[in-house]
Symmetry: C2
Subunit: 356 residues, 2 copies
């Protein structure tokens, strides 16, 4: 992850400006486990999380620098939890400002980011509502109840060459008259629009930190990223199916030729997608092979035809090697790397390696 | 869950025999959290889990009765962890017997279940291999190194009217000559083939305990089961889209008519499937409505057109009420209830209610 931060930074350095680096670690660090990833993020200036309770988790895990809470306040009672040093809070709707105005004891350290709704169209403020929200937050600054106000934007189509121009123009038309730092760039924006990202005061990449590509047509390897996670399971059974023999619930797989089958200790109960079709790539030793039949709660089956050396106890890699990057698996399943990462369940032990 | 056990038992009582009841709680109790479900399972005689480490978790959580480890031994080192009272171990391949024979210090309490592979065709032993494995385990019993040996079977097609007859005939042809108790019935078998299940010494239902139907064409309500879990999130934004307006990554949703949109604090990072298509049912108050656009990591969007009273902070139910049973959601998404349950991630707080 440290190398991936460096790769992202180097790309921006060429643009002659280096924004501050906020590492987006929402959803338990994209499924990697917050505590596991902190050693690799020590060069970042801030962490971005979803909920205020996550900010407390970061503090408990030893993070002393800035924490940005992307989801803002869940309800008014959370105003009482804002007495955390170096806290940045994203405001996503007007009631959150009402709650601050009504209940906030002065927090001279607390920095507010207003979320511009933009073309993704989810939470945040549109043009006039944004100006009004900014004025209300500025009044809190003037009253020394908060430290300052910045502008946050998230692009809906950053992967596309022409994906950010019009949304950015709308954003600039509103914020150019309003003092404060800007943060507008996720991984896809940093990689696809580095000239734009270099103008940011803060960038906040997520997916690329974990070594996955945020761009549909560029691999992580091409972009210079290294996987932070690999997922492994064990062979717990091997059997030979004759042509025409079936297996699985409701005989979901039938061998069309003599087939050596490996039974693997990973299923949808671990977060491997149940909707992964037969043929999804998996790796055994140096060989790429494929799933067979349907993923069950505890097991999946793979094709070991032509791999007679593979035995019970051997390791199977489900993603995260140079030969089998997570994007390749995601693409075969019809989803994205972030979905696979965050889908891992409590049952999967996260084992940190090479922590610095 | 106590009521669901009772419903399953009552069905079998009509058959004039009551097998002992083993509650299958693998995959962290189908995502419900092992500690949350134990109070509801106090009338069960045993728990079934996947791994030996799970058996230790059950003991730590206060369960003193029998624990069945369905996955058997992961490797030889686990033989040293078998000194747990009331432990039952399922043997799924011959190397596990090698490990026991080589390393097991006498555990006069340890009961072994041999897994018959059957037509599901995954782990376990086929006919001759089964007889050989039974002979080896019987030798361990004779040497007073283990307590006894039983016969375990799992049907591949129990949902079907004619789904178990031929597999059961193969199983009986092998085990009828071999003393020991039998366990052959999951939830679907108990419900679809109660006459068969009533002959079991142990039944081991899973899904039905949690109040979901294991049968594709019978609802849990019809079968008399009550949901053990409901999943809720909050409205964190409301907006009105004009006809033709878009939102989401790459404008994934475009309103075909004026649409009031609710933004909801649940996404694929919580385990709600990313592949859930627009139109998946959700519940707001007493009203059933539907998702719009694509599920993101942290958010989903729902249709609030015609529900003008719904505001930020209001609750949205994603499954687990009489109006919105989990099977209805699973069916709309093209999956099964067990996939939704076990897919919930670490980020979702599990809040026990009505614990007895």
């Amino acid at each position: 992850m440290a190398a991936n931060i460096n790769t992202l930074r180097t790309g921006l350095l060429r643009q002659g400006h280096t924004p501050r680096f906020c590492a987006t670690v929402k959803s338990d660090a994209y499924g990697h486990g917050l505590r596991n990833v902190l050693p690799g993020l020590k060069d970042a200036s801030a962490l971005a999380v979803m909920q205020l309770s996550d900010a407390y988790d970061c503090r408990m895990a030893g993070w002393r620098k800035t924490i940005v809470v992307l989801g803002g306040l869940g309800d008014e009672s959370e105003v009482g939890m804002l007495d955390l040093p170096n806290l940045h809070l994203v405001i996503t709707h007007a009631a959150q400002i009402d709650w601050l105005a009504a209940s906030l004891i002065a927090q001279p350290d607390l920095f507010i980011w207003l979320r511009f709704r933009g073309d993704i169209g989810l939470t945040g403020f549109d043009d006039d509502a944004y100006r009004k929200a900014y004025a209300r937050c500025s009044a809190l600054v003037a009253a020394r109840r908060i430290a300052g106000v910045g502008h946050l934007h998230h692009h809906a189509s950053a992967e596309r060459d022409t994906g950010i121009a019009s949304a950015d123009a709308r954003f600039r038309a509103v914020v150019s008259a309003l003092p404060g730092p800007c943060s507008t760039s996720n991984s896809a924006t940093v990689l696809r629009h580095p000239d734009h990202a270099a103008q940011d005061d803060w960038i906040r990449p997520g997916l690329a930190l974990f070594g996955a590509s945020p761009l549909a047509h560029r691999s992580a390897c091409e972009l210079g990223f290294k996987p932070a996670m690999s997922l492994h399971a064990r062979i717990i059974g091997v059997r030979d199916l004759a042509r025409g023999e079936s297996m699985g619930y409701n005989a979901s797989f039938t061998a069309t030729a003599p087939t050596r089958v490996g039974i693997v200790s990973c299923g949808y109960g671990d977060g491997y997608p149940r909707h992964a079709r037969a043929g999804t790539p998996v790796q055994v030793g140096d060989h790429l092979t494929r799933t067979l039949g349907t993923v069950t709660m505890d097991l999946m089956t793979i094709d070991l035809t032509g791999l007679p050396e593979t035995k019970i106890g051997h390791r199977v890699t489900l993603w995260g090697t140079p030969e089998l990057p997570v994007e390749k698996v995601a693409s075969a399943i019809g989803t994205i790397a972030a979905d696979l990462f965050t889908g891992l369940t409590r049952r999967v032990p996260l084992i940190p390696i090479n922590a610095v």
